[in-house]
């Protein structure tokens, strides 16, 4: 499935209405959007791992991963973490408000490669929207994929959002959930320590397709572990984050060496980016 770019001018936003605002945590919220132009709304399509630029007048634009399912044609969900001057005003939005949206941009997860394969999803840090889209994608088409392993490391157990979802996922057949918290609260039944602590319990075949998101040192650590288990570099994928202003390879801010994160990524194979991954300054 090819993603369909909105219009011929990729820099120009389109009006979208907020249908619902979902408070995930005090600092994380989800905006469900619909393009106000019905034809545009119909035409729009994306793949998990791609992102949109969301725009608020007087504030500016932010790149936000699309977390809803590509086949949910009625609404497009964007989960946003409040991290600064630009995201804060987005938190004030409510149902019925209008914003600007342009996208989808970038290359998403290797859905085609993962079909019929075991899928490992590893994330670190706070709520990592790009992989949530992929987890949802696999669960919705469960029979099209092999074993699903979800690995997540957080600094403090309280940082884990959607904890009940992880609990529910862990009950599903052919699905393993492994969580680690650097510091654990009283009711934490998972690992305590670094994400690598729970890798020991993971059953991973060399044919797995691994998708990662989070701090780069964590992704490097997980990738090294997977390589030792015989997973090839071409089957290791990661979503990167950089300063992004245009979204389509023009403004230059997102470059990592020769690559534009917005256009060549944000999802890269480990093979493509290993040379500069985790290298300070790139």
């Amino acid at each position: 499935m090819e993603a369909f770019p909105l219009e011929s001018n990729p820099a120009l936003p389109h009006e979208a209405e907020i249908i619902e605002r979902i408070e995930e945590t005090p600092t994380i919220f989800t905006l469900r959007l619909r393009f106000t132009d019905p034809a545009l709304h119909q035409r729009y399509s994306f793949m998990p791992g791609q992102f949109n630029m969301l725009y608020l007048p007087g504030v500016g634009e932010i790149p936000i991963s699309i977390v809803s399912d590509p086949e949910d044609e009625h609404l497009y969900d964007h989960t946003i973490r409040m991290v600064g001057r630009v995201t804060r005003p987005f938190a004030q939005l409510k149902a019925g408000d209008h914003i600007g949206v342009r996208g989808p941009f970038g290359r998403g997860w290797p859905v085609a490669q993962a079909l019929g394969q075991d899928v490992v999803i590893a994330t670190g840090g706070l709520g990592c929207a790009p992989v949530v889209a992929m987890i949802n994608y696999v669960l919705r088409r469960r029979e099209q994929f092999g074993r699903l392993t979800i690995i997540q490391g957080v600094r403090h157990s309280a940082d884990l959002i959607w904890r009940e979802r992880y609990e529910a996922w862990s009950q599903l057949p052919n699905t393993q959930v492994l969580l680690a918290a650097g510091q654990a609260g009283p009711d934490w039944r998972w690992h305590t320590g670094h994400i690598t602590a729970c890798l020991e319990d993971a059953t991973i075949t060399p044919e797995s397709v691994v998708m990662m998101c989070g701090p780069e040192p964590m992704m490097v650590a997980v990738a090294k572990d997977m390589l030792l288990r015989g997973v090839s570099e071409e089957r290791l994928w990661l979503s990167m984050e950089r300063n992004m202003q245009c979204g389509f390879g023009k403004c230059g801010h997102c470059q990592v060496g020769p690559r534009f994160v917005c256009k060549d990524g944000p999802v890269f194979s480990y093979h493509e980016v290993k040379d500069l991954l985790g290298k300070a300054g790139f």
Partner: protein
């Protein structure tokens, strides 16, 4: 376009400008202003820098009227030529209007009249070809670009900072022009590089250049290449530079570099720009601008309270590894066309060829 090259006596340069004006082009050409050769709107030959000579060195630029007479184009490129004409230093991209709870977006496209640029040099044509690719799907750039007619001049007097012969981008212009001039004592050898150029040339009704004139033009170009002293190191610079990311020279150059961003501002291939939201005071609408940015700026690599490149060492390394290395993969060629501007306009006199050589030399 391999039609016969013509000869245009000095006295007919005015006619060329007149034909361009008659064909509906506004003219932009080199002029001596405040001690530098800059490209500005012009109407007559009298505004061209006749007899002006320049002298350039790392961190140093002088241009002044020399002896009486002299030539019109006996100088090397000043701080800027084509880039600001196609990739504006700052311009609105679109406007958002808020009314009754709704939002309306409208693209803002620049309105540039057909424009003939006089005296474009080979390095800038090479840089333009790169930017044409980079901004191929960018409406504002294309709206300006379409309006340009380029009258190039082969370089006869490179500056000490020029090294286009080493990058293969000059001193002769090989493509991308509409008309091409070689300046001789008595006049110009003129060639057309496009239909539009050929049309103008035909109107001038010139005689064919004779073999002596063609030889003289070739000799000037040969000399202009031969006098260049600076070169970039040979070989696969992308591989070499990315293998030397921990070279001590990065620390050393960071001691001299002021991170002023002059190099990226004068560089004809640098494309980085930032977006800016400029709301109207009454909140009724906003303009979304873009403005040249630089990998030397504080905010260039900023993300969530963190800078990917917090210090001058990593910023200088970004500039050099992108320009001479990363560009290879992005555009199939180096991002440096050898214009030497970053050397001349660096207040600290940092020389890209010297830094590249130092980093490529010795142990990784």
């Amino acid at each position: 376009m391999s039609e016969q090259r013509k000869f245009m006596p000095n006295a007919r340069l005015d006619d060329l400008l007149a034909q361009l004006t008659r064909a509906g082009f506004q003219l932009i050409g080199p002029q001596l202003q405040e001690g530098a050769i800059v490209y500005r709107p012009m109407t007559s030959v009298a505004e061209l820098p006749l007899g002006v000579r320049d002298s350039q060195a790392p961190g140093r630029y002088r241009a002044a009227r020399g002896e009486e007479g002299g030539r019109w184009f006996a100088w090397a490129n000043g701080p800027q030529a084509l880039k600001p004409l196609t990739f504006a230093p700052r311009e609105p991209m679109w406007r958002a209007v808020a009314a009754e709870g709704r939002l309306h977006f409208a693209a803002v496209l620049p309105e540039m009249p057909p424009t003939a640029v006089i005296g474009v040099r080979a390095c800038d044509l090479a840089a333009l070809a790169i930017q044409d690719r980079h901004f191929a799907d960018e409406p504002a750039y294309q709206a300006r670009r379409r309006q340009l007619l380029l009258v190039a001049v082969n370089c006869s007097h490179p500056a000490a900072t020029c090294f286009c012969a080493s990058t293969g981008d000059g001193p002769a212009a090989s493509s991308g022009y509409d008309l091409l001039l070689d300046e001789l004592d008595e006049g110009f050898v003129v060639a057309a590089g496009s239909e539009a150029g050929a049309g103008i040339l035909a109107l001038l009704n010139l005689t064919d250049a004779d073999p002596t004139q063609l030889e003289e033009a070739a000799a000037l170009l040969g000399r202009a290449a031969a006098v260049q002293q600076r070169t970039l190191p040979a070989g696969d610079l992308a591989a070499t530079l990315f293998a030397r990311l921990d070279h001590l020279r990065w620390d050393e150059v960071a001691q001299r570099c002021l991170a002023c961003a002059n190099c990226t501002q004068v560089c004809p291939t640098c494309f980085c720009h930032s977006h800016q939201e400029v709301p109207a005071l009454d909140g009724s609408h906003s303009e979304h601008y873009r403005e040249w940015d630089s990998c030397f700026s504080e905010g260039h690599s900023y993300i969530h309270g963190f800078k990917v490149r917090p210090d001058i060492r990593t910023r200088y390394r970004q500039w050099l590894t992108h320009k001479l290395g990363g560009w290879q993969r992005q555009f199939g060629r180096s991002g440096c066309v050898g214009c030497g501007r970053c050397i001349t306009w660096c207040p600290a006199g940092i020389d890209i060829t010297e830094e590249a050589r130092a980093i490529c030399a010795g142990e990784p």
